[in-house]
Amino acid sequence: MKILVGYKRVVDYNVRVQVKPDGSGVATEGVKLSPNPFDEIALEEALRLRERGVASEVIVVGIGPADLTVHLRNGLAMGANRAIHVVTGDAVQPLTAARALLKLVEKEQPGLVILGKQAIDDDNNQTGQMLAALWDRPQATFASKLHIDAGKARVVREVDAGLETLEIDLPAVVTTDLRLNEPRFIKLPDIMKSKSKPIEALELAALGVEPGDHLEATHYAPPPKRGKGVMVKDVAELVAALKNKGLV
């Protein structure tokens, strides 16, 4: 079984992004970029399935500009067999990403697609669900445990009410939550090895996907600031302050 893994590059989670003064976007020039943390978890899970003999091949997919190859090398160094680079200069929204992934699914016929539940830049949390819909296959979002056996997956999902278990027929789409696994660190020899692994480049337009039906970003603004509060010296003062506000 092949596993396709979505592998997006995002602004590193430690960077506190700033909105440009003219409201035209967020300043991303020169900031540190990293793999989306949920996608690293997705790749780790795929690699573990390959190591257990459940999967035979792990393919990482990235959608973005020409310099995305550097990022895809990371995924190869972590252990993916090969990479597919869907080349586009435009920022891609979830529906377009799902349409592009569907084209790759049709071409590669994976038994499983694992994506992060959300990217930490646009926080959309949509692409996996959209791909499953377009593909007309099951989805198991927010996975914290994944077990595959006899053409089915048993997935424990982190939902608001607790932990839900679903059984889904494969092929299917699974999206990862934080506690599915802890991704491995990349070792230096793996970086060397990754240089000989193939990255296939495909133009988004050549896949027959037109970016369209998009949301138009009209304005960016910083969030309203909470006013700085006061420090109290002890519990008595805290309780008095809360009583004063009618909160206790």
Binding site: Q129, P138, T165, R226
Partner: protein, 313 residues
């Protein structure tokens, strides 16, 4: 004329209050508001939805296949009704986040996540980068707007003086059987629900163990509060994952939020920005949580929390 369909979230025959928050958001969009109840036995949930102020009509669909909220089963049914509506909404809970992108893709349209503000029927504000920026988006003209509603940004709709009519519907579409519900392990307790509680007490990594978390539960019980936790406390296994507050956990807006032993990572602060009053107790005076706390107290939580509980008992 706008016409909004809200997909009701419910569990164990009860309407989730997140649905009432979607009604407030739909009222801001304006026009008619229908609520869709997909269930095996929808009567009680439909009645609860009909009693929300602003609801024009409740569509009640009884079908054994709807006994569990499976996105793959619900989505084709929502799609089947979509042609009658300009807007389709569900709460931005794990229920709505799972379902609405699937609905949008079936309709071939974009989806707006975590709707915080409505500027008009086509323009919406939503958070990006863990809430560090607010983005206004315009949806394409003539397209159905499919969105999830950030519940912390909207109040629950009030009770109606006159209940809205309830119409039974059957939706004749093929439903998949490739997705099967096996079980739910719920941390349900007698405490208030974290997502909708007026008061929340949360603990962080500094608690040090699952056993030590009992002082958080004790304080919460004294306050009649729900219990939450930071990602670090959940990752360390002190509490179950459904207590996680933050960017990838629950986004909440209680009147009172008490953060104990939580340093205040960006992703946690994202989950509590809309809280009325934030109290922080932490031994590190430099902890980022103090930058957004209304009242901060520096000291040993193992001494201060029991003391606070005593003082409030």
């Amino acid at each position: 004329m706008n016409k909004t369909l809200i997909v009701a979230e419910h569990h164990d025959g009860k309407l989730n209050p997140a649905t009432a928050r979607c009604v407030s958001c739909a009222q801001r969009i304006g026009g008619d508001i229908d609520v869709l109840v997909l269930a095996d036995a929808p009567a009680a949930v439909a009645a609860a939805a009909a009693s929300l102020q602003g609801v024009s009509r409740v569509l009640s669909v009884a079908n054994a296949a709807n006994v569990h909220a499976l996105a793959a089963v619900y989505a084709p049914q929502v799609k089947a009704l979509a042609a009658d509506y300009t807007h389709l909404l569900a709460p931005s809970t794990t229920f709505g986040k799972d379902l609405m992108p699937r609905v949008a893709a079936l309709l071939g349209v974009a989806q707006v996540s975590d709707l915080m503000q409505v500027e008009d029927a086509q323009h919406f504000v939503r958070p990006i980068y863990a809430g560090n920026a607010l983005l206004t988006v315009a949806t394409p003209a003539g397209q159905t707007v499919v969105a999830t509603v950030r519940t912390a940004s909207w109040p629950e709709a009030a009770a109606a003086t006159q209940p809205a009519p309830i119409e039974s519907r059957s939706i004749d579409v093929a439903l998949p059987t490739h997705t099967r519900f096996i079980g739910l392990e719920s941390g349900a307790s007698d405490r208030p629900d974290l997502q909708s509680a007026a008061r929340v007490v949360s603990g962080g990594r500094a608690l040090g163990s699952a056993d030590n978390f009992k002082i958080i539960y004790a304080l919460a019980d004294t306050l009649g509060a729900a219990v939450g936790a930071s990602r670090a406390a959940v990752d360390a296994g002190y509490v179950p994952s459904d207590l996680q507050v933050g960017q990838t956990g629950k986004i909440i807006a209680p009147q009172l939020y008490v953060a104990i032993g939580i340093s205040g990572a960006i992703q946690h602060l994202t989950g509590i920005k809309d809280a009325g009053t934030i109290v922080a107790i932490n031994k590190d005076a430099e902890a980022p949580i103090f930058e957004i706390a209304d009242f901060g107290l520096v000291g040993d939580l193992f001494k201060l929390v029991p003391e606070l509980q005593q003082a409030l008992a």
